[in-house]
Symmetry: C2
Subunit: 403 residues, 2 copies
């Protein structure tokens, strides 16, 4: 029913092989847990890390991959000297691309952080390999190119984000033309009830305390600014072929309804569950079939109350900026994403205030002219330009930073 | 995916023909509205009423059926004398069976009230005609027989109750073996927060004020006792092939989530919408495709809050009795349904108190020995016996009736 969502096993009758890009990150390590507990039929192709070689060593002992990739050269050298792992040990972005595009892969779990996922994910797509996509920046930065290539090479893209997994589940058995609207839920993040003044003085420590989900630092800050929801809107546009005018965001602080689809007859379907990324990971690994799991079950009477409210685009301008960039199209979302990545890292280092994040993103978008129907070169170039601009940007506003 | 749910149009390539059993009732008249507004491709076979011949005359002028059935003989004579309708004018249960089993029918909307739906619905099933089932008593009284006959004659049964339509929608694209649990929502009815004492003195006037749904009198009283939910649990068991141990009821006073399905991986899907029977009717008419509609859309931020709680089986014993009867099996649910119909009518006439309804049902169930794997004759016999007993039953409790 979805253009990019066909059964992984339709590609190959033999034992499926999964490569996990970013296996020591939050999604990557949970993927290994889920794989180990519930999907014993998978062989593991490659595991990859940037620098976390001790965790990588443990993962190798658990799932016995064919090979590993260590992006950081120093860490790669250390690992080679110390490890008892007997498989291939590759290095750098070149190694990532080789691992991702390995012909043995039936599925690549794309769970690198940020823009770094684009090139290796594209390499797998061009080999017709099914992508389980947890790296939303891939579609945010390069959605038009990626989805065109995925269609061309017949590479299905299965959503792993809980919101997009929810939409995918709601769309099973439905027809594309019956979709009226996607309704993406947002927890509202740790600052949902903050005043503008409180936002101005918000610290990384406070922002890193997410109410419902345990995630990496980058995505947790994105949750606090609502940029995460903006990135998800852009991702949804490419995953499901639905324009921004037909995507709504609703704040649902309990994070039980993970997203909804409204159909042209007025009916709405929702997917619900406890806030646990293992479920959408598990669903992606078994897609389109459901595999029994021992995960804790939701008890809706115990939950008792679910609430819903409109997002406040005044206090959380990142969501508005994301919608604007999506409407502009071309590399506007590449620029948005790059500026945001830089701004979030500057905030995490204590170099700028919380409300400087949208300021930097907006100024970058206002300054760099986006390219239409971009090639990979255009995307890499605009990503680089936006990063350079955002890294240098000095706010004219006075932000109060209380460390 | 469901054994009894295949496309109506798969049966016949020509113009689909619908016969509406009980066209002047609540569901029947809404079916005509929906048909007229959204399904112009349907021809109408027969419309049927018990006594409401003026409304029937108007419906004939609107949708031009091939024929009509008037169950009541006096009303039938009056109609024949007065009408300008040129089609066939049949009478009685014999007429209902003839209309329902007419070879031209591609779909029968079974929306008679109570047990009277069983025989005509079965007649259509035995001609392999698709049933849109709004008459839940058909499956409650004769579920085992009806579903066996539906499979034998390859007659799909499409749920029209909002709860079962919700489950059906959630099951699209899913596999039967992936179902872990059905979660049927209940508004809790007008007496949800009543004390036992308030329930003892509850009047028909109060019971007829349902908080969310506009329905007929019988079903509204059933909503107040929660027997309606019990009947739905029994109906769900036969529609979806899921035993009572895997059906939960949860009270959700806002009636926005119409029901849910929990899958074996721990994921839950729900169908949501405004409380309006036109949507499930519309869905059944177009099934398995969705047809665009102009019905008002749900605005979840405007709804704001949804709550969920366990049903109280102490104050609302009818729900417990229904689960018990379903576990007992055979004609136990026939007896439950017959006793309940009689008790509700006695309550509506002011002859008994509200809390006498479960007393009558329980006593009838305790008195009549159910038959296993019943034939239609067994069902008719036990239905008759239960009615006779329930009509004569005198409560030993003192019920306070305040008219």
């Amino acid at each position: 029913m979805m253009p990019h969502t066909v059964a992984p096993e339709s590609k190959q009758a033999g034992q499926p092989t999964i490569t996990i890009l970013g296996s020591t990150g939050s999604i990557g390590s949970q993927t290994i847990e889920v794989l180990h507990a519930h999907h014993p039929h998978y062989r593991v192709g490659y595991l990859t890390t940037n620098t976390r070689i001790d965790e990588l060593e443990q993962q190798c002992a658990l799932v016995h991959p064919n090979g590993v990739v260590i992006s950081d050269e120093t860490a790669w050298k250390t690992f080679r000297e110390q490890t008892s792992f007997k498989g291939r040990i590759l290095c750098g972005e070149e190694g990532l691309v080789e691992a991702s595009a390995d012909e043995e892969n039936t599925l690549v779990m794309s769970s690198l952080v940020g823009f770094s996922g684009v090139v290796p994910t594209l390499a797998a797509i061009r080999k017709g390999i099914t992508i389980a996509l947890a790296n939303k920046e891939t579609l945010v930065s390069a959605g038009e190119l990626i989805t065109a290539e995925a269609q061309r090479y017949n590479a299905p893209i299965i959503a792993v984000d809980s919101e997009h997994s929810a939409i995918l589940q709601c769309l099973m058995g439905e027809q594309q033309e019956a979709i009226e609207k996607l309704i993406i839920t947002a927890s509202g993040g740790p600052f949902r009830t903050f005043t503008q003044e409180q936002l101005d003085s918000a610290t990384p420590q406070k922002a890193l305390k997410h109410p419902n989900w345990t995630m990496g630092a980058k995505i947790t800050i994105d949750s606090a600014t609502l940029m995460n929801k903006g990135l998800e809107v852009i991702e949804a546009r490419w995953l499901f072929g639905i324009g921004p005018e037909r995507i709504d965001v609703v704040v649902h602080p309990q994070s039980i309804i993970h997203s909804m689809v409204q159909f042209t007859d007025g009916s709405v379907k929702a997917q619900l569950g406890l806030p646990d990324m293992k479920l959408p990971i598990h669903y992606a690994l078994g897609f389109p079939h459901r595999t029994p799991s021992a995960f804790p079950r939701m008890d809706i009477s115990a939950i008792g109350t679910m609430t819903f409210e409109q997002p406040d685009l005044q206090r959380f301008p990142c969501l508005r900026l994301a919608f604007d960039a999506l409407r502009t199209g071309g590399t506007a979302t590449t620029i948005l994403n790059a500026a945001n990545e830089v701004a979030v890292h500057r905030f995490l280092r204590g170099a700028i205030g919380f409300t400087d994040i949208p300021r930097i993103v907006e100024s970058t978008l206002d300054t760099i002219q986006p390219a239409e129907h971009p090639s990979l070169q255009d995307i890499l170039e605009h990503d680089r330009m936006a990063r350079a601009y955002a890294a240098e940007y000095q706010s004219h506003h006075h932000s109060i930073i209380t460390p």
